[in-house]
Subunit: 185 residues, 2 copies
DNA sequence: GTCTATACATAGATAGAC
DNA sequence: GTCTATCTATGTATAGAC
């Protein structure tokens, strides 16, 4: 019964964050208004400011993904397979937080930084597993490939990608990724 | 001497369009203001409105690329080679008009339409040259790959891509593209 | 602790002077 | 044909009532 003090606050905060993520993911930072977020969350616009202080801060909080649980699902086979699993996850249900970041990465400086950091991390991890002087470049290209497919599929909605089953995309993309990573089938 | 009527007008219009393209390409549609465009072009903000009627119309005009002169440069070898040449051109000097469109494609509906149309056209052209039922999907994936590299390199500025010479990117990307297009080396 | 009312800034668009 | 001045709308942010 006494749980109504911070309890209710956390509940509102969560609803606001969920609404913010959805709107940021759908329209990007600039076109998302505090008012719209508040309306979607069923709260007063002033409350959003009260909780988060600024639109930018709301965005930062909304974009903070859950701990990103590294490669827990598909038993991590080879490197290309793991990268494709990541993409598979992305093509299916990329988290709203990630979508929000990706949506704004070309136009909002803060989102661009977040994207560079996230992609840079993946490039470093992949590059560390590759031999050769051009390891980092190969890793960057492979990461960019997945970025391109994700953007085309999730954010631009290119029809051929939309219509294709995930396994089909996987099947066609795998040899390309293997070639890029310098692995032999 | 009598050339000062429409002549001067065209000159101003051109300066405005150039400034608009640069700003749209740099910051995207939302963050670009009529006032900033006018200042960069050295004209009055009201003049921009006088000429183009609205910010949206200015954007549309600014994004209209030159006739896109299809594949004139590198003597068009194989399909992968031609696609890479396009990318090569992109990595070097992608036109400000294209950059402006790409920059805003994730957040501005009009730019998204333009991007879908442009990419869809390329997918159709590439797909038409490929055999098999999955021709369009392969073409869409190949196009997305180049999109991803372009975005990573030109718009996000991923360091490993920035630092790499164009030929190196070409060399590493070619086998991947060949694999994707289903061609044999 | 939540909402009403409002201040303040920005920016797109317009009217009219020069 | 170009600029000054302004209108109007939107949206972030704040102050104060309940």
């Amino acid at each position: 019964m006494t749980i109504t003090r911070a309890e209710r606050r956390l509940r509102s905060e969560r609803r606001i964050l969920d609404a913010a993520r959805a709107l940021f993911a759908d329209r990007g930072f600039e076109r998302t208004t505090i008012r719209a977020v508040a309306a979607a969350a069923g709260v007063d616009p002033a409350l959003v400011m009260q909780y988060f202080g600024s639109k930018q801060e709301l965005f930062s909080r909304a974009v903070q993904a859950v701990p990103t649980k590294e490669g827990e699902p598909g038993e991590a086979r080879d490197l290309a397979g793991r990268m494709l699993e990541t993409l598979g996850m992305k093509l299916g249900g990329l988290s709203p937080a990630s979508l929000a970041m990706l949506r704004s990465m070309l136009t909002h400086p803060e989102a661009a930084d977040a994207a560079r950091t996230a992609l840079g991390g993946q490039i470093d991890r992949v590059g560390a597993e590759l031999p050769g002087d051009d390891a980092r470049l190969r890793a960057a290209l492979a990461t960019s490939v997945l970025l391109g497919v994700t953007v085309g599929h999730q954010l631009l909605g290119l029809d051929p990608l939309r219509d294709a089953p995930r396994e089909e995309i996987d099947r066609l993309l795998r040899p390309a990724l293997l070639a890029l990573l310098g692995e032999r089938e």
